[in-house]
């Protein structure tokens, strides 16, 4: 858990990290890395604020479904796989018992993609202003590039 003791470098330990994420999943590894890192930061008592922009607003679509893989590929792919939203939901719930993760989706991007009303419980539909509040209030800012 969090301590006010200085870290190994003698600096004041980090309390809050803002992560700006603009990419959706299923064809990028970036959301996987963000979730893996968020878990590690939460374990260390660090509050994680994710601001989801552009395609990243689909990550918290509550209607993601676990589906069967095509029959001819099941020997290779397996029967099915869990959607990314399940892992975000679990990380949001993990905050009940430790450091908290806030996940804010951009309202403009969510409306454009028709997912504003489909956000999972725990995800907050916010504004562009929330991006800059997260950035301004963070000890560390991590911005994942949205390269094509």
């Amino acid at each position: 858990m969090h301590s006010d003791e200085p870290g190994p470098s003698g600096r004041r330990r980090v309390r809050r990290v803002a992560i700006v994420l603009s990419t959706g999943s299923y064809q990028r590894e970036a959301p996987t890395t963000v979730l893996r890192l968020a878990e590690k930061l939460l374990e260390r008592g660090i509050e994680v604020n994710v601001w989801a922009f552009e395609e990243a607003v689909t990550l918290t679509n509550q209607d993601q479904m676990e589906h069967n893989e095509p029959p001819s590929l099941r020997p290779v792919l397996g029967e099915s796989h869990a959607p990314v939203g399940r892992f975000i939901d679990q990380l949001l719930r993990a905050g009940l018992h430790g450091a908290k993760m806030d996940w804010v989706t951009c309202i403009l991007c969510a409306q454009e993609r028709g997912v504003e009303k489909h956000q999972m419980g725990g995800a907050i539909v916010g504004t562009l202003g929330d991006l800059w509040k997260f950035v301004g209030g963070a000890d560390q800012v991590i911005a994942i590039p949205a390269y094509r």
């Binding site: 999943s25 979730l35 290779v76 792919l77 796989h81 892992f87 993990a94």
Partner: protein
């Protein structure tokens, strides 16, 4: 009618909450389930798909996100087993320090200039 289809991969996608790169398994489905003659060309960073010693695994909150452990190499093998020709570009391998001995057996190594001939002998190209 397009019958001979060249499918080109340039950028590897790993650990994306799919069992594997969806473009790769969509291609594998075409190879296994259709009468089309599909061949695969791996170039640029995607030459890593042909490296045999891959192991895909990552956990979040103790849960494996890739429970099937499906590697791109496994899908390359699957396509080879179903009759597809899979080629990798030699210069792109060399730039990334990948010796041909590290590749999945059956993958053909071609030169960058051979790709013009490969392009010309097909009826359609899908570049993912």
């Amino acid at each position: 009618m397009a019958h001979r289809i060249l499918v080109i991969f340039e950028k590897p996608i790993m650990l994306s909450f799919e069992p594997a790169d969806p473009h790769l398994f969509a291609t594998a489905l075409g190879v296994a389930d259709t009468p089309l003659e599909i061949s695969v060309l791996l170039r640029d960073s995607a030459v890593t798909y042909a490296v045999s010693a891959q192991a895909v695994s990552a956990r979040i909150l103790g849960q494996e996100i890739a429970p099937s452990g499906t590697t791109p190499a496994r899908l390359v093998t699957f396509m080879l087993e179903h009759g597809a020709v899979v080629r990798v570009v030699r210069e792109d391998l060399e730039e990334r320090g990948i010796p041909p001995s590290d590749l999945v057996a059956g993958v053909r190594v071609v030169g960058r200039f051979d790709t013009a001939e490969i392009f010309a002998e097909n009826d359609g190209v899908i570049l993912w």
